[in-house]
Symmetry: C2
Subunit: 356 residues, 2 copies
DNA sequence: GCCGTTTGGTAACGCGCGTTACTTGCGTTA
DNA sequence: TAACGCAAGTAACGCGCGTTACCAAACGGC
């Protein structure tokens, strides 16, 4: 355990870092003066000359503030924490990106703590609790919880000690503020797009009908149809597993069920993976997209939607925006401001590509 | 700016947290005793009775150690930092997952700092420098740099102050230790698999021939062929953009160029996105996979490989393992142990699915 | 010549904790 | 009985910094 210099980096720089005291000495002033200048306090009176002397010393010595010590003294850490299963199941990484970018803008640091993928019923409380605990030990000023897919969750008790915002999920018991996608509006815009293209008979490949995504998107679809004086034919709504295979099978069923003149001319797939399977079913039958059958997806999973041929028109889940909004909401909360609403809906924009 | 309680959480818990002093008072002992017990020092002599009294007090008061203060006093933060563009371009997210899980195991905290996607030549030094600086202000004990795709990078100067390991990239100037995929072995195993299936004429859809991935994978392919007494026909290696469209076009060219008897019976696509396009080209020509043409990919982008029909046999990039190995290497480095090698190659396992 | 005010600073405390050096009481041994 | 050793703890310093209270000199007004 001999604490020798590691082979990897210049040993010299490794000793106890340079502190404010060193800077003060080098500049020939008190440490207080240095502190005042570096945190540029408005009501501090330091002459322009010593100011520059201090800056020079900082530069000369390569001084770097110690964030931990600062946090300890000032009683604010400038940290937010996010507990998420997203890193485990990277579908919604952009939530992290959005949150992190926004935090960076606000000069906050986002601590990311991993959580196992939790199932909708009883999340793996063990790991989540541990993660939350760790974050609280770091004295984060606020907490975010993010899920990979829109659903209800139960958050650890300790959450109560600090402002908390949920992203892409909602609090099944209490009433923590949450940011979720506006599934209904998304479903609506998808079907409106199909109607606008002249389609009147639209097949829907559904998800598990219990989950918020399915409920909302279908509701939106119904609304759009109603406005056009149409109804959603229950026969045209077929469920499938949320995979490409599931989409393939569902599409086969729906396409083979009717004679050509009754066949739907468009498919609304409730996610892009299923759309991917639907593509295969359509192509297999010698039909073209969008000529014979138009397809519209949901989620905008870039890797699929942007690379399918033809590229898939779809409705995007606003992950990045949700992340950013989460941080903004948290900032408001920690500042003691009232929040806008308990549940904020974020719009799901239509992304036009080539399948409609 | 009135510091009222936020509407969101019980105001009571918000006051200055409970400290070791409170615990000590509650248990009727000195703070030192509490410290000794909580960090269970081996050579401290505390009776079993006071021990339990202290634990009871901890529990009763809901004491939670202050990580920042501990770091300050003990001069070790238990933090590693990772600077990465991965969150921006989520292709290689599993690097983060691997690193984070390993760090969690080691009871370290991984601070993730975002960096803009950097191009191969001159990275956006501004943002990387700022991110690195931020991490050093947190007094991280070590630094990781991770790239979304295997390439050379330039890291900020300040990196020298702390042990540093590169993941999925290598140091273009100096000689920082790095963890990279074994592209050559990966290319080899892919082609070996095709040979084993009886293919003798193998088309290769290449990437930009300059990048390490292309160089290594092609080299591996050549080796595998040589061992079977075959040569890599340069005519059968066609470059393409690293997209589905690029793969589609390349596959068309290669398939249409020869009469049926001379046509390659297998395609090695140097990434899965291009394989996705190749699928279309093959199907369009009425050929089946793998009956008429076998396809093997590279990267194992789950979203594509696991959902293509038939599912794509491919070679996986070991992102998660690289992340974990990066943290392990960093741990060794910070402990002053010598590192195994400057460059560690991580194997790329073959994932059998149904396209060969 | 005296007092009040501004300018330009400094001394000292405390944030929560790790750690070292020291103290006290008690059973053992010579 | 004195010297000794050990178990069981405690007092006090310092980590790097924010912050409050205080001080000395210069200056202006009457």
């Amino acid at each position: 355990m001999a604490k020798t210099t590691t082979p990897n980096h210049a040993g010299a720089a490794r000793q106890r870092g340079v502190t404010m005291n060193d800077v003060a000495k080098h500049a020939g002033v008190s440490r207080t003066a240095v502190s005042f200048v570096l945190s540029n306090r408005e009501n501090a009176s330091i002459s322009e000359e010593t100011r520059t002397r201090i800056y020079e010393a900082v530069h000369a010595l390569g001084y770097r503030p110690n964030a931990g010590a600062r946090a300890l003294a000032s009683q604010r850490s400038d940290w937010y924490g996010i507990v998420t299963e997203i890193v485990t199941a990277p579908f919604a990484v952009n939530i992290i990106k959005g949150a992190q970018d926004q935090a960076w803008l606000d000069r906050k640091f986002l601590l990311i703590a991993p959580s196992d993928q939790a199932d909708a019923v009883g999340p793996n409380q063990g790991m989540e609790d541990a993660a939350t605990e760790k974050l609280l030990e770091q004295r984060v000023e606020g907490l975010l919880y993010a899920a990979t897919f829109h659903r209800g969750v139960h958050v650890p008790e300790s959450t109560k000690e600090v402002p908390t915002v949920l992203i892409n999920c909602f609090d099944a018991d209490g009433k923590l503020p949450s940011i979720v996608p506006d599934e209904r509006a998304g479903g609506r815009v998808a079907v409106e797009r199909l109607l606008q293209a002249g389609h009147r008979r639209i097949g829907v490949i559904n998800l598990d009908p219990q989950i918020p995504a399915a409920i909302g998107r279908l509701e939106g679809a119904r609304e759009a149809l109603a406005e056009a004086g149409l109804e959603l034919d229950p026969e045209l709504v077929v469920p499938g597993y949320a995979t490409a295979d599931g989409g393939y099978e569902a599409a086969c069923r729906i396409l083979d069920r009717y004679p050509q003149e009754d066949r739907p001319t468009a498919l609304f797939c409730l996610n892009d993976r299923m759309a991917m399977g639907a593509y295969d079913a359509i192509k297999e039958r010698g039909l073209t997209i969008p000529g014979d059958i138009a397809v519209i997806g949901f989620d905008n999973q870039e890797l699929i939607a942007a690379y399918l041929r033809p590229k898939l028109t779809t409705v995007a889940l606003p992950f990045e925006k949700m992340g950013a909004l989460g941080v903004q909401t948290l900032a408001a909360l920690t500042a003691g401001q009232p929040i806008v609403a308990d549940q904020q809906l974020v719009g799901c924009p239509l992304l036009e590509r080539s399948s409609v």
